[in-house]
Subunit: 678 residues, 2 copies
């Protein structure tokens, strides 16, 4: 008889069931729980490899009778709490509520063992928005504590080979390589750690960092490089939690407010590209320092960065001149995902740290759109879904499970408050909400910094410190929509000067009329909405709508079933007002919602789940790209979309809720006055 | 009937035979010769891909009747010389002796086509030494001229993807990647070259450099980083030819003459490691600049570097502190081959250039030994072959087709002239050859800088400008061997002071005797060989011999059949004298020869043939490493090897040619005099 069989026959076997996985098996008495879990393929985390250092492998013994499993489970069926567990509690927090370290707990009798979510490697990270699936935690960078053999003259291999062998032997990580940059520090780290070290492994392929002894801090930062704002979120790679966030204005604004003016700057100052690259990298480095400091760490604790950006920011960040993106054929230098050592981009995180930049889709549809898709998953929807990220260029994605199309449309900066006479960024003092009484034509509004409407008591006092300084993007949408609904602006976008007879809020400016939204008591300037402001909004929203229509044409649908508005602008605008303007197509209003900072969330998903990287890279290749500039119908759609909400499209869902204003036709006469025709 | 078949039936077919490959086939009239060669798998080079630019695809039409092939071949069976060929001749040299560009020559009738060696990609590079196989040219870095599609808004992929697609389509290079560092320059280069560019591809895997238009200059440099000298050879990667060489003293000498003193320096000045790394890299950069200038090029023309070095130089070059190599267990940080971008080591060649460093074998057996093995191929020998590279550490390889063993032995710097009273480097004025008349005990010698023996007429005049300044390594070997053969030194290495009665060349120094090799006429110092000099040579040669004996033990042989001596020292010493001393084991003298700079040649092979890299990496893993410090028998072998040539080994081959001196036993008495016993 085989001696192994013999031994197994003589040692008592006990049963264990792990929940929630339901995996079960029998093991000899005194088998460590972590070992049993490994054998059964139960997902329990561990960085220290069972040395009682990391505390990741905590479990709870279920108490009671489980007839389904035929087990009476109680904590005395496990070995008593041992010295290592007590020591762990002294070093970290004591193990609460009967939790045990599964690596130091032996099976004595039948038990049911609960593995709490935080002890699972591949746990789910719950996203707040009910629309989204949770993120499945599986980061590209993981830590492993490993004991490396002593150097041995009889086996004269290199210490890096000893480390690689140890990782294969102790962690089943085959065929690892080691970043050459670590060769310099390997031996001192081995010496300092007495041959016990912690390594960071990237993508189960390469060792990218080393520390003496045990360590369990591993952080990554997800970054959204917008034209206006750069936002960074530092995440704990082992829990997925966002521990710190920071943002700053894109310092490139000094080279041009919008993207195209920055490209023009480079065209005129070729050395400007390098300058812009420098300032954007410096800005990122200051953000990294800020989020690291917020968790009392250093930038060396950051092992990985994922980035989304529009194509121009993407190229500048990589040190590529954006001039080719400034004109047709809008040739990207690369559209693939970019994976580089941080050092290559002069980004100051851990010296072995890695950067992953999501793929671009086309010359104007960037990694930010890829991020939005990763976050929103339109390819998983049955409904015909429209995603819009409004910026200087609107990035538009339309589709569902069957097909996905993308385009961009040059909306210009009007939605960001630029080119609007009283426009300003969303900041304290800016008007963000507007209602106009269609009878009296009197407005009321809210400004950022106060929750009161302008006609409520205490408003003046509440805004006294900052005043009313201008109109931000969402305010512009509302005031123009309200002006249209109140009959102050016609369906064609003409400000009706004849209303001067009904209200003193109409003032003439050269040959056109303005609407006075706010007249301050003191000597501040009036807040006006001019004819030109209306035109700018018409041009912007018509471009966006024409882009959406082209995608609808290509996919062969005449309606969208669901709309998600991404970005800061998309989060703040009132969707009904946006639809009144015809900024978005008609849709059941309940199906229109904000997607928040979807691009940034996409960067975070790419940070926390490495499979999402392959998924988005593959998906992006299959997205059908539509180039608005090449489509003959774009111009027709654009002209129709100049009207509110649209010259030809009926908007039945909208007008089932909102009364369509009477159609007025005003004709410009030689004297600049407008005549009403019913 | 299939339309293809129909067409083939109606177009006349002609026969073509390519020599020397003998490949043959039939093709339709007007098939370009290069195309026919490609179809038949005939090896014809091309960088420009058949555009008549590179001139690499030249062939010669054989004239005459070839009954074996049933072909009457003549040049009129090919299309007439065309405008492109004439233009090529105007730009480069005219096509001589009836040569044609096969890409622009069409088959009209049956022909025999000779492909000259220089038109083959995988040509052989003939090595001067008859012992060696030729190098099969197959460099890791190759150039490709490629036409890249214009950017196209309908196909909005990145330009790098267009380049990769073009290389796959035009050159059948699948799955290429592009070095991220090139993203910055790709679009300007495409524009400048009007989308026609030349790229350098590394290992058929990655694009590492780009130039607008056509280019056919690709260079690499093979470097041997010795403790004393650094030598660099610039090679044309397309012909394998060495175009320029340069060398300089290792500037680390200022940190210590020999390796161990440099390691000690680092132990005492930890910042010294970085300093040494800096100076070695600076030295390499100055060599690269020098060899590039020698061919009227720049360092940007250098695309690849291969390097050999002993383990300590290897580590310092990589920026790794060598302190672990300074003592047992002599732990290498890495023993694998190292492949890195040049920029990572701050080596200034083409910004995308690559470095390949051969693998190390053990803590004292370095990449230089791997280079020696690559050059000498002991694993291809039937004879039991001994390779020795003598330096401060001797690196020793023993074996044949069946097995290969390696070790190192600490010979110390005596063979380099250090620790020898009148020792000096091999430079003008150094004694390099010595003969002693056993009757008169009078010496004659040669010094570097003159071809005359010291007893020949005109010697004094010939050396007048520099004098006789010392004894170099090969001179030391000869003078000690000659002293032994002449009976001046006993078998145990004692200088026989009793000879003072026979010659005035014996002088006393404290309690021991010296031999006066040269007494200058003027006030220069005498050139003496002291008792201590003999001891130093005994210690060095005994260490070397003991190492060899250990390998012989391990492999189970009592004789070697072939000995190759590598390195500068190995090239200059007289093998018979070396054997008289017992520096090398007994062997048929005709089978003992110099291997030249075998390590450097190994670096050149690795540069010119990429398969050799895999081969040496695999081979090195299978070499059995013997650690002399761990072998109990080392001490016994060492003691026996202190005698000339050896206390126990008989040296039959040697003494069939050389008369063994009578054995004298001298006993040291209290007065310091020696008494002869017969």
């Amino acid at each position: 008889m085989d001696p192994i069989d013999k031994r197994e026959k003589t040692v008592a076997q006990v049963k264990v069931v792990f929940t929630p996985s339901g995996r079960r098996g029998s093991f000899p008495v005194n088998t460590p729980l972590l070992h049993a879990a490994r054998v059964l393929g139960v997902d329990i985390d561990s960085v220290c490899g069972g040395r009682g250092l990391c505390g990741r492998c905590q479990i709870i013994c279920a108490e009671g009778s489980f007839p389904k499993h035929q087990i009476d489970s109680e904590s005395s069926h496990l070995s008593p709490v041992c010295a290592t567990e007590i020591k762990y509690g002294e070093r970290k927090t004591a193990l609460a509520n009967g939790r045990r370290l599964s690596c130091h707990t032996l099976l004595l009798d039948d038990v049911v063992i609960d593995v709490p979510a935080e002890s699972q490697v591949h746990r789910q990270i719950v996203r707040k928005d009910a629309e989204h699936r949770d993120i499945h935690l599986d980061p590209a960078t993981r830590l492993y504590y490993v004991q490396v053999d002593d150097a041995d003259m009889h086996v004269p291999k290199g210490d890096v080979q000893r480390l690689i062998d140890a990782l294969e032997g102790q962690w089943q990580l085959p065929n690892l390589s080691c970043d050459n940059r670590l060769l310099k520090t390997l031996q001192p780290v081995l010496t300092k750690g007495k041959r016990a070290i912690t390594v960071a492994v990237y993508n189960s392929q390469q060792i990218i960092a080393l520390w003496p002894g045990f360590r369990d801090k591993a952080y990554g930062v997800a970054v959204d490089v917008g034209s206006t704002t750069i936002a960074a979120h530092l995440c704990d790679l082992s829990s997925g939690e966002v521990l710190a966030s920071a943002s700053l204005m894109n310092p490139q604004i000094r080279f041009g407010e919008d993207l195209m003016s920055r490209v023009s700057y480079v065209m005129m100052h070729p050395e400007g590209a390098d300058e812009m690259t420098l300032v954007i990298r410096e800005a990122l480095n200051s953000l990294f320092a800020e989020v690291a400091e917020a968790i009392d760490g250093t930038v060396e604790d950051i092992l990985e960065i994922t980035l989304v950006a529009n194509p121009i920011m993407h190229h500048i960040l990589l040190g590529i001149s954006p001039v080719e993106l400034g004109g047709a054929p809008f040739a990207l230098a690369t559209d693939g995902a970019v994976e580089v050592p941080a050092a290559e981009l002069e980004l100051k995180i851990n010296p072995g740290g890695r950067i992953y930049i999501l793929p671009c889709i086309a010359g104007h549809v960037g990694a930010d759109t890829a991020g939005m898709i990763l976050s929103e998953e339109p390819q998983e929807q049955d409904q015909m879904t429209l995603l819009v990220d409004v910026g200087t260029n609107a990035e538009i994605v339309l589709g569902n499970r069957q097909r996905l199309l993308a385009c961009s449309s040059p909306t210009g900066p009007a939605f960001e408050g630029a080119q609007i006479s009283c426009g300003q960024r969303a900041a304290t003092g800016a008007i963000e909400r507007v209602r106009i009484n269609p009878e009296t034509l009197e407005p009321r509004f809210k400004v950022i910094g106060s929750d009161l409407w302008s006609d409520e008591e205490g408003f003046s006092a509440a805004i006294e410190s900052h005043g009313v300084t201008g109109i931000c993007g969402s305010g512009i949408i509302e005031v123009v929509a309200e002006m249209y609904l109140a009959g102050i602006v016609t369906v064609d976008g003409i400000v009706d000067g004849e209303l001067v007879n009904r209200t003193d809020r109409m003032v003439q400016n050269d040959r056109t009329w303005c609407y006075v939204l706010h007249s301050p008591v003191s000597d501040e300037a009036q807040i006006l909405v001019t004819q030109n402001d209306i035109r700018q909004i018409q041009l912007a929203k018509a471009a966006l709508y024409a882009g959406v229509k082209l995608l609808m044409d290509h996919i062969g649908t005449d309606r969208v079933e669901r709309i998600r508005l991404a970005g800061a602008f998309g989060s703040h605008i009132n969707v009904q007002h946006a639809m009144v303007l015809g900024l978005i197509p008609d849709c059941v209003l309940d199906e229109v919602s904000s997607a928040g900072n979807a691009a940034g969330t996409g960067a975070r998903i790419a940070l926390l789940n490495r499979q999402s990287r392959d998924a988005i890279e593959t998906l992006v290749k299959n997205i059908e790209k539509v180039e608005t500039a090449l489509e003959p119908k774009f111009q027709d759609y654009f002209v129709d979309a100049m009207a509110f909400p649209n010259k030809t499209d009926p908007f039945p869902n909208l007008f089932s809720l909102v009364t369509r204003p009477a159609v007025k036709q005003l004709v410009d006469n030689a004297g600049g006055r407008k005549r009403r025709r019913r």
